[in-house]
Symmetry: C2
Subunit: 351 residues, 2 copies
DNA sequence: GTTAGCACTCAAAGCGATCGAGTGCTAACA
DNA sequence: TGTTAGCACTCGATCGCTTTGAGTGCTAAC
């Protein structure tokens, strides 16, 4: 027995229906709602075949069929009606960034909000990371009380700042001179290289010991704490609206997973090289998510760093719609961050 | 009929028991578990009185009694065993800030995590706001591509930064000179005053028009967008563990309230002048929270700005424990932010 | 004032009957 | 050979009934 054209059409109808309603689909439903010109009995035979082929599951003998992971996979890979996003949705995404948004964090938070409300699933947006950035400028700004702000600018336009102690006697000009010297010495090096060179510099510029130690401290703490990635999550409560999360324990598990940010970031990041990914149920690799799917897309900044946008929903997700929205959002963010020269910022917490 | 010593003791027992178990308390439970030397019949009479006085409610006639809002109020105000916090809990709070934490955002996120896991309720922490800060320094840092970072430092140690466009021909020195001029002109003024003066300055320093416009733009956008307060929420999933949130709709409502950050901030901020507040059920003023209680405490920074820590839980909250933890955390944060001179930073997103 | 006893109430749990959506199989038909 | 009508069968969901038990209020006795 083999897959034929008609089986595919029936399978598609079943998946479409199940994604819509969330209740197991019976043969009669298919023969009535989607007019295939076939009686329910015939559909029944086909469904039985499809089950044998592993595309359908049956919760119990007197219930309809539900698509298996394999079916969703097929659906996403070949069956899915091309997710040409509604042009009004695209417009609404674009419109949402019209207003002046200055901080990358805000953009990311906003994006998560927007995606979750457009899709009605849970959205996660991760700030860019990637390529080792190179130092552009380093500058000290006095902030009083014997403290100074270290501003580190890299070629990817990403800025890191941190407060350090400096002696009371350091005024704005002294700090500026130190800044110039450092920038001259270190420009163009990657941050790891800068870190490696610092002990040397501290030797050479003895008189500014405290300041350099401070800068070194904050650089290396960043290095070790790895990539401080900003992450925004939106619409976690959306999931509770789906009947598959009527079970309280399940809901709680899901929510607490959404709260453990490190793990969540790791899951979403995934094998983040692809422009977009769809992971269905067990493919997520997360046991707690065996009945969720994760769709991700990426966006990039002018420095070539990559950020990730993800949507988490039930396996019966509206894949085409979600993909469309994510890709549109990815383009929008790429435009926004690719330094097309408007007054928007690309400051971010990442290093 | 009046409140007497014995009634109080019984009421206290009922509240204690209900807080612990969450199920309506019967007369027999009280007479057995808390040995008052009274039979269930006597307790029954007293409970009937307490109900008449408005301290107890009865879900239905053959169920036990549950404390009313009035009872909790009495409990919090006078009955509650003083919440001397367990010394090991205090230690664990202190320990949690031993590690080097450099950004205020991180401290706040961390604090929310810690409080929610110590209390098992939902925790909210708001960054400081208050007193209009005065300008200390303003400095421009070139970041390439004809862009510059504007760093604005105020007397409260709070820093704001933003990216603006400058002409390509602006090098580090030029920018530094503009910075000095501006700082000289504007130091000591509140940010509102600075905003008001800017148009004037733009007139006078024609040649640097673009730069000044940029600075003005980011200042005034901050002014209008109000106080950008950072907020961290932790342990929202904790609430689902309480039987009062077994109802899915209720749970969803609660969660989506937790997601509307503006509203949540407003609720927690409340009448934030007091060192701590306890709002019970309807006292929260939020219809969706009529069966929650909110406990808040404040902490402050060296600039005299006040931040708020809050816990949201069911009305049958372990008030004394929560209050103890919040107050301890408040002290800890105040120490941390009061500029006791260690290398920790107080950079924050607020202006 | 306290307590034992008792009738009463009512939500929750248990139980069986019924319903109905859906299946698989068979036999007839084109 | 593929399609369809028909029918027996399955089994979760629903409804209504009974039972159970926690808890009350009241009364009468101590």
């Amino acid at each position: 027995m083999d897959m034929d054209e008609r089986k595919l059409r029936i399978l598609q109808a079943i998946i479409d229906d199940y994604i819509l309603t969330g209740i197991p689909v019976g043969s009669r439903t298919i023969s009535k709602k989607y007019d295939m010109g076939l009686s329910s009995a015939t559909i029944r035979n086909e469904m039985s075949d499809l089950e044998e082929l592993g595309y359908l599951d049956q919760p119990h003998v007197s219930a309809g069929r539900i698509p298996s992971t394999k079916a969703y996979r097929l659906y996403v890979d070949t069956l899915m009606r091309n997710g040409r996003i509604q042009s009004d949705t695209a417009d609404s995404i674009r419109a949402l960034f019209q207003g002046r948004i200055s901080q990358m964090e805000d953009v990311i938070d906003h994006a998560a909000q927007v995606i979750s409300s457009l899709t009605n699933y849970t959205a996660v947006v991760l700030s860019p990371k990637g390529v080792q950035p190179r130092l552009e400028t380093i500058q000290l700004v006095p902030i009083g009380q014997g403290m100074a702000l270290v501003v580190i600018v890299t070629d990817s336009g990403i800025i890191r700042d941190n407060v350090i102690r400096v002696g009371r006697e350091m005024d704005q000009d002294t700090l500026y001179n130190i800044s110039r010297a450092l920038t001259g010495e270190l420009r163009g090096k990657t941050l790891t290289e800068v870190c490696a060179l610092m002990p040397n510099l501290i030797e050479r510029m003895r008189e500014n010991n405290e300041v350099l130690e401070g800068i070194y401290g904050c650089l290396s703490s960043d290095q070790q704490s790895g990539r401080r990635t900003h992450m925004a999550v939106g619409g976690t409560s959306n999931m509770l609206a789906y009947p598959e999360y009527n079970d309280m324990d399940k809901a709680r598990n899901f929510l607490s997973l959404m709260e453990t940010r490190d793990k969540l970031a790791e899951i979403i990041q995934g094998n983040g090289e692809m422009a977009f990914t769809v992971r269905i149920g067990p493919e997520t690799g997360v046991p707690e998510m065996s009945d969720c799917s994760i769709v991700t897309a990426t966006y990039s900044t002018r420095g070539g760093q990559q950020g990730t946008i993800g949507v988490i929903g039930p396996t019966r997700m509206r894949y085409s719609r979600v993909l469309g929205i994510l890709i549109a959002m990815g383009h929008e963010l790429t435009d926004l961050f690719s330094g097309d020269g408007d007054s928007r910022s690309m400051k971010g917490g990442t290093l």
